[in-house]
């Protein structure tokens, strides 16, 4: 039984079985995927026979990490990234340097050559972006203090990959084995200054494209209203940048992260997010499974002491370094524990570094295998450790000092209002809200409109609001009110359905084109319905009466009364709408009522439902 489809079935079934169980047991999806990978790997059920195919899948699915960093970049506007410079430089750099130094020291003590020690140290100082960010996201801790510090460290580590890959060839004890897939791309044989120039050039290209290239591309594509084309463009952006980065020997993850940050201000932010998210999830899931499948249990069984001692030793060392940094940064104990243990594993980038070092002859095949086993094991142990930590230690501490917990300041403020549709109607509404300090997250489905409004300084996002994932990225979970300022009945009905099903807490306010649309929305159980013509037409009528000599205040009160009456009548009529014949006679009746109501009141000179300022009644009495 061979072939792509069969493999796909195996992987997917394993994931479908293991991940929900893991989640139910409170272990998080990462551990679930890892266990699924171990189960289908060569040492359990053996569906994936050789370690090599597991590794192949691992390398392919590393792309999930690239995508994840793009998505994280999207969430992080440049100004917020600038705010994090202290975290990235101080915390991140300290972690990388100190950890490398200590690992090298320990390794030399054990009599390993310094070149090999340095390669090991640099590789193992890195932590797994994939695992840590996935777990932080799942636990909703990305914006906590420890979450932000973790992110800073991971970002620095991603940057560190570049110099690490540059240093390794200098350590080479053997001549570089000529092979097709060396990392350095086309630049390998160029002199240093050309390499540097090309690297800056590539980054420049990414920045320029992000600023001026992707916007028009997405605008052009989105006009076709074909969703798959938009998704394809999103993929093109990520794959293209990754390719470009690979070409000049930079980390693709870093490149896409940069592109993400530049696009964070773009109107297509939420649409990109919702389109790429499933790809990222799938690829990462496969990646974790591949890690599980490549754990070489034979090696562990042959040499259990070395492998386990190595794994625990590295993790312990990393925890100590991280914990000290956390202490220095004045994290409280609870935050510090989750910060230091969360980052205790070795990174997926380390696999790349081992492979490269092996190629350069710095590592021997057996040592590279052992290191890989240690890395994979550390990836498996951390989620388990975190689980124990969460369940046993942190939850108990939580009860004790829940008050001391620090209020996290968020990467991006969440808006209470989502405004769908930014035409004349929506923009007037949006301006009014904004004039009173209420910023709404605005969604519009017309790319030209979005661009125009962006130029005018409105923060408008492109996207179809009737899609759940779109609403999700627009922050529907946290929002209180969703205002639909679109007049298409079809879209509004779909929107109401989607919101009711997925976000029942969200209060809906719906613009209705006319009375008949209003009936539809009323029938769907909506209360806040705004017929677009009602207020304007009454106001116009009011002014007409005034021009005919009616007193302004009296007219004003009549208009208010008429409006209330009309709204009440709408709700009564809505109940009869389904029965058409009855409906027509009812409409007639209501109109007659309205007329007689108003004219009879007018005959009494001035009076609505009261006799205020009216002396007629008193005169009659005398």
């Amino acid at each position: 039984m061979e072939g792509f489809l069969f493999d796909a079935i195996i992987y997917i079934i394993a994931a479908i079985i293991c991940v929900p169980i893991a989640k139910r047991l409170g272990m998080g999806s990462v551990l679930g995927y890892l266990i699924a990978g171990i189960l289908i790997g060569p040492y359990a059920f053996g569906f994936i026979q050789d370690g090599q195919s597991g590794q192949d899948i691992m390398h392919t699915t590393e792309f999930g990490v690239v995508m994840m960093l793009f998505l994280i970049g999207l969430e992080l506007e440049p100004k917020n990234l600038w705010k994090m410079r202290d975290l990235i430089l101080n915390v991140g750099l300290t972690q990388v340097l100190v950890t490398t130094f200590l690992i090298v020291g320990v390794a030399i003590l054990f009599g390993i050559s310094w070149q090999m020690s340095l390669a090991m140290g640099m590789a193992m100082a890195l932590s797994s972006t994939a695992i840590v960010l996935q777990s932080l996201k799942e636990k909703n801790q990305l914006e906590s203090q420890s979450g932000k510090m973790s992110f800073g460290v991971l970002l620095m580590q991603d940057i560190a990959v570049i110099p690490i890959l540059a240093i390794l060839p200098l350590l080479a004890t053997a001549q570089l084995v000529e092979s097709g897939d060396s990392h350095g791309g086309i630049l390998e044989n160029q002199p240093g200054w050309v390499q540097t120039l090309m690297i800056f050039g590539a980054i420049g290209v990414v920045v320029l494209l992000g600023r001026f290239g992707f916007g028009p591309l997405l605008n052009w594509v989105s006009k076709t209203k074909l969703r798959e084309l938009f998704t394809a463009s999103a993929l093109l952006i990520v794959v293209g940048i990754a390719f470009l980065m690979g070409l000049v020997g930079l980390s693709p993850a870093l490149g896409t992260f940069l592109a993400g940050v530049i696009l964070a201000n773009s109107p297509y932010k939420h649409a990109l997010e919702s389109d790429l998210d499933p790809f990222k999830g799938l690829l990462l899931g496969l990646f974790f499974m591949a890690v599980g499948a490549t754990i070489n249990f034979n090696l562990i069984i042959e040499n259990p002491f070395l492998i386990f001692a190595g794994t625990l030793g590295v993790m312990l060392l990393k925890v100590i370094v991280l914990f000290s940094i956390g202490k220095f940064k004045k994290l409280n104990l609870q935050e510090n524990l989750s910060f230091s243990f969360g980052l205790a594993q070795v990174s997926e980038f380390s696999f790349v570094i081992y492979a490269f070092a092996l190629q350069l002859g710095i590592l021997t095949a057996s040592s590279s295998d052992s290191l890989m086993a240690i890395t994979a094991l550390s990836m498996t142990f951390t989620p388990i450790l975190m689980l124990v930590l969460d369940k046993a230690v942190l939850s108990r501490m939580d009860k004790k000092d829940s008050k001391t917990k620090r209020e996290a300041d968020s990467f991006e403020e969440k808006n209470n209002v989502i405004l769908v549709g930014f035409s004349h109607f929506g923009s007037t509404l949006g301006r009014f809200l904004r004039a009173n300090g209420i910023e709404a997250t605005v969604l519009d489905y017309n790319p030209d409109q979005v661009d125009l409004l962006r130029k005018m300084g409105f923060k408008v996002f492109y996207g179809d609001a009737t899609r759940v994932d779109m609403l999700h990225s627009a922050g529907a979970e946290e929002a209180k009110i969703l205002i639909s300022a679109i007049n298409s009945e079809e879209t509004n009905k779909k929107l109401i359905e989607v919101c009711k099903e997925n976000y029942p807490h969200l209060e809906l306010m719906i613009r209705a084109k006319n009375r008949f649309d209003a009936y539809e929305y009323l029938e769907m159980g909506e209360e806040n319905i705004y017929r677009e013509h009602l207020d304007t037409s009454i106001r116009m009528g009011e002014d007409a009466l005034k021009k005919l000599g009616f007193r302004a205040y009296t007219t004003h009160r009549l208009a208010a009364q008429f409006r209330k009456y009309d709204e009440d009548a709408l709700r009564i009529l809505a109940q009869y709408k389904s029965n058409k014949e009855e409906y027509i006679s009812k409409v007639k009746k209501q109109i007659e009522q309205q007329e007689s109501f108003l004219s009879s009141e007018l005959n009494k000179k001035f009076s609505l439902n009261d006799h205020a300022w009216d002396s007629e009644a008193m005169k009659e009495q005398k």
């Binding site: 208010a560 439902n609 205020a612 008193m618 009495q621």
Partner: protein, 188 residues
């Protein structure tokens, strides 16, 4: 237990610490209903029928408002104009408010002392509130002495909490006393 209807009028309630403190003190009390007129009728279009039905149901009415230019904010006057209808509140057949209790609960920027014949405002608060007293009189209601929190711009925390306590006790007394022993004026 009497039912108490507090008709509250303040055009900028969100900026009035004193009135917020007063209302929060009595809001949780049973059988006390606060009607925030500016919140209910931002367009001054008062629903007369609903207001009359409420009046019918409640035995004690409190006109709770700040003093602006020696009188109430306009919406309370609007309320009086519209709701206290001829033939319902007064005049022939206007018997629906008879024997109900009513008082003004007021806040003022000036201290209680400046509302005196010798003071800056030359008249007492009681005198400024005569139109309300006479309105109640015409409707055959029992007009009770007003409740006042003065000097609201400079009031200290302690003074305010003492005043809110007083207000609560007054409301409780009006609600629970077997027969109300506070002197009132009423048409004979």
């Amino acid at each position: 237990m009497r039912k108490i209807l507090i008709l509250f009028a303040h055009p900028k309630y969100e900026h009035s610490d004193v009135n917020q403190a007063l209302l929060e003190k009595v809001r949780p009390l049973e059988n006390v209903l606060i009607r925030d007129l500016y919140e209910l009728y931002p367009d001054f279009n008062i629903n007369v029928q609903e207001e009359q039905e409420l009046l019918f149901e409640y035995e004690v009415v409190v006109w709770h408002h700040p003093i602006y230019w020696y009188s109430c904010p306009p919406i309370l006057k609007q309320w009086i104009d519209l709701v206290l209808e001829f033939g319902w509140a007064y005049g022939p057949g206007g018997i629906y408010l008879k024997n109900k209790y009513v008082l003004n609960a007021v806040t003022s920027g000036g201290s209680q002392e400046v509302y005196a014949h010798e003071g800056r405002n030359r008249f007492t608060m009681e005198e400024f509130l005569r139109p309300f007293e006479q309105t109640a009189y015409l409707c055959n209601m029992r007009y009770l002495p007003h409740f006042q929190v003065g000097g609201t711009h400079r009031i200290t925390k302690d003074q305010l909490s003492q005043k809110t306590e007083e207000y609560k006790n007054l409301i409780l007394r009006l609600r629970d006393e077997e027969t109300i022993t506070i002197p009132y004026t009423q048409k004979q």
